[in-house]
C-alpha cells in the first residue's frame, strides 16, 4: 500500500492505517530532528507531535498530495515552533545542540561539518540537510519550503560554498 493510499484511509476515518505510516516514518523523522541538533528525548517528542498532527488534521490531506512532502512540511513546521519556543535563550540552545550532536554521533568529520553547518543562514542549512542527509529531491524540498525548484538549487550551490569556507575555518 502506498503512503498516499494509507493516508487516504486515515483521512476517511480508518485510523489503524496510521500505524503503517508511523512504522515507515518514525525512524527517518526521529533522525531528521537529531540531525538538526535536537536532543534525543526532544526528538522523540517532536516525532510524536508530527503523528499527532497528522491524525488530528487528517481531513486536510487531499487527493493528489504527496505524502512524503506533506509529512516533512509538518515536521519542519514543528521544528520551527520548537526553535521559537527556545529562542529566548539562544545561547543555551546553541550549546545544547552541540552537546546533543556529540552525544548522538561519534563521527568526527560529521560533527565538524555539522558545526560548520550551524554557522550558515537557516535557509542554507535546511536545503543542504534535506538534500544530503534526508535524501529529498529538489522538487520535494521546494514543495516543503514552498519555494521554487530553481531557488532550491541556488541555495544548494551557495550553501555548499559557504559551508566549505566555514569548515575550513574550523579545521
Amino acid at each position: 500500500m502506498t503512503d498516499e493510499a494509507a493516508m487516504q484511509f486515515v483521512a476517511g476515518g480508518d485510523l489503524d492505517k496510521a500505524a503503517i505510516l508511523y512504522e515507515r516514518y518514525k525512524r527517518p523523522l526521529y533522525n531528521f530532528y537529531l540531525r538538526f541538533g535536537v536532543e534525543r528525548d526532544s526528538s522523540q517528542d517532536l516525532t510524536q507531535q508530527v503523528f499527532y498532527r497528522i491524525i488530528h488534521y487528517r481531513s486536510s490531506f487531499r487527493e493528489g498530495y504527496e505524502f512524503r512532502t506533506w509529512i516533512y512540511r509538518i515536521a519542519r513546521n514543528i521544528y520551527h515552533d520548537y526553535l521559537k519556543d527556545h529562542s529566548h535563550n539562544h545561547k543555551d540552545l546553541h550549546e545544547n545542540i552541540e552537546l546533543a550532536e556529540e552525544e548522538n554521533y561519534d563521527d568526527e568529520q560529521y560533527l565538524l561539518i555539522q558545526k560548520a553547518l550551524k554557522k550558515l543562514p537557516q535557509e542554507y542549512q535546511e536545503v543542504l540537510t534535506m538534500s544530503r542527509y534526508d535524501e529529498l529531491k529538489y522538487e520535494e524540498i521546494a514543495d516543503i519550503l514552498n519555494i521554487s525548484v530553481s531557488l532550491v538549487k541556488v541555495r544548494v550551490h551557495r550553501g555548499l560554498k559557504q559551508l566549505k569556507e566555514e569548515y575550513l575555518k574550523l579545521n
Partner: protein, 263 residues
C-alpha cells in the same frame, strides 16, 4: 552555473546540459577548480548512521492512536444513529411496516374499547415485536444488495434491533466471513460486537481470527474480543503472534490484548 551544479550533484543533467557544463568548465580554470572542490566536499558529507527511537515513542504513539480511535468511534456512532433515523423514515419497507403498525394500532384500540379486560401490555409487546421483525426483514433483504454501501447500511440497521434472532446473527456472521468488500466485513464485525452477550456472536468473532487475513479486520476483531473480555480469544491471538505472515501492527495489537485478557 548554480542550477547546473545542483543538478550535477543529483545526477539529473541531460546530454545537452552536461555538454554545457563541460564547456563552461573547460573555458574557465578557476570555475573548474571550484567545481572540483565542491564536488569532493559534497561527497565527504556522508550521512551518519541512523539511530533508532526508543520504545517510549511507540508507546506514546499507540496510546495516542487508541485515544483517537475511541473519539472517532464515538463520532461515527453518533453519525450512524442520526443517519439511521433518517434512512428508516425514508425506507419504503419501513413505510409498509408503519402501515402494519398503524393497522395493528387501530385494531388494538378497537379491541381495547370493545373489551375492557384486554391485556394492554401484551398487545403493546406484540406490536413492538412486529416492528422488530419488520426491521430484521429489511436488514436481511438489504444485505443481499449489490452495492457495498447499501450492505453497510444494512449492517448498520442491526444496531436498531434490540433482540436479534439467530437468522440475523447468522447473516451478520456470514457477512463478516465472506463478504467480498473489506469495509462491509469490518462493519459486520463491529455490529456483532453489539451482540457480544450472544454466544453465537462471540464464537464467530473468535473463529474469524483464525481465518481472516486482512489486517484492518484482524485489528478490529482483536479490539472487540479484548473489550468483551472473552479469554477464549487468547489462543487464536497467540496463533496470530506465531504466524510469520501476520503484520507487525496486528501482532502488536494481539500482544497488548493477550496481556489484557490474561490479567
Amino acid at each position: 552555473m548554480e542550477q547546473l551544479f545542483a543538478d550535477y550533484l543529483e545526477d539529473k543533467l541531460n546530454a545537452r546540459q552536461r555538454t554545457e557544463l563541460e564547456t563552461l568548465l573547460a573555458n574557465d580554470e578557476a570555475l573548474r577548480d571550484e567545481f572540483e572542490d565542491l564536488k569532493a566536499f559534497y561527497a565527504d558529507m556522508q550521512k551518519p548512521a541512523e539511530l533508532d527511537p526508543t520504545a517510549t515513542l511507540d508507546l506514546g504513539f499507540y496510546m495516542m492512536l487508541e485515544k483517537e480511535k475511541g473519539a472517532e468511534q464515538k463520532k461515527k456512532a453518533k453519525e450512524q444513529k442520526s443517519q439511521m433515523r433518517v434512512s428508516w423514515i425514508n425506507s419504503p419497507i419501513l413505510k409498509y411496516a408503519a402501515g402494519i403498525v398503524l393497522l395493528l394500532g387501530i385494531f388494538w384500540i378497537g379491541r381495547k374499547t370493545s373489551d375492557k379486560d384486554l391485556n394492554d401490555l401484551s398487545e403493546i409487546a406484540k406490536i413492538k415485536n412486529d416492528v422488530e421483525e419488520t426491521k430484521q426483514l429489511v436488514m436481511l433483504s438489504m444485505l443481499k444488495r449489490e452495492s457495498a454501501s447499501e450492505r453497510i447500511q444494512a449492517v448498520n440497521y442491526s444496531y436498531d434491533i434490540n433482540k436479534p434472532d439467530d437468522e440475523v446473527l447468522k447473516a451478520l456472521i456470514k457477512t463478516m466471513n465472506t463478504d467480498e468488500n473489506i469495509n462491509v466485513r469490518t462493519s459486520a464485525a463491529e455490529a456483532l460486537s453489539h451482540f457480544g452477550n450472544e454466544k453465537i456472536a462471540r464464537d464467530a468473532l473468535i473463529q474469524t481470527l483464525l481465518t481472516q487475513k486482512e489486517p484492518t479486520l484482524q485489528i478490529t476483531v482483536i479490539d472487540i474480543l479484548a473489550n468483551l473480555g472473552d479469554k477464549r480469544a487468547v489462543k487464536p491471538m497467540q496463533k496470530l503472534l506465531q504466524n510469520t505472515d501476520t503484520e507487525e501492527v496486528v501482532k502488536r495489537k494481539a500482544m497488548e490484548s493477550v496481556k489484557v485478557l490474561s490479567l
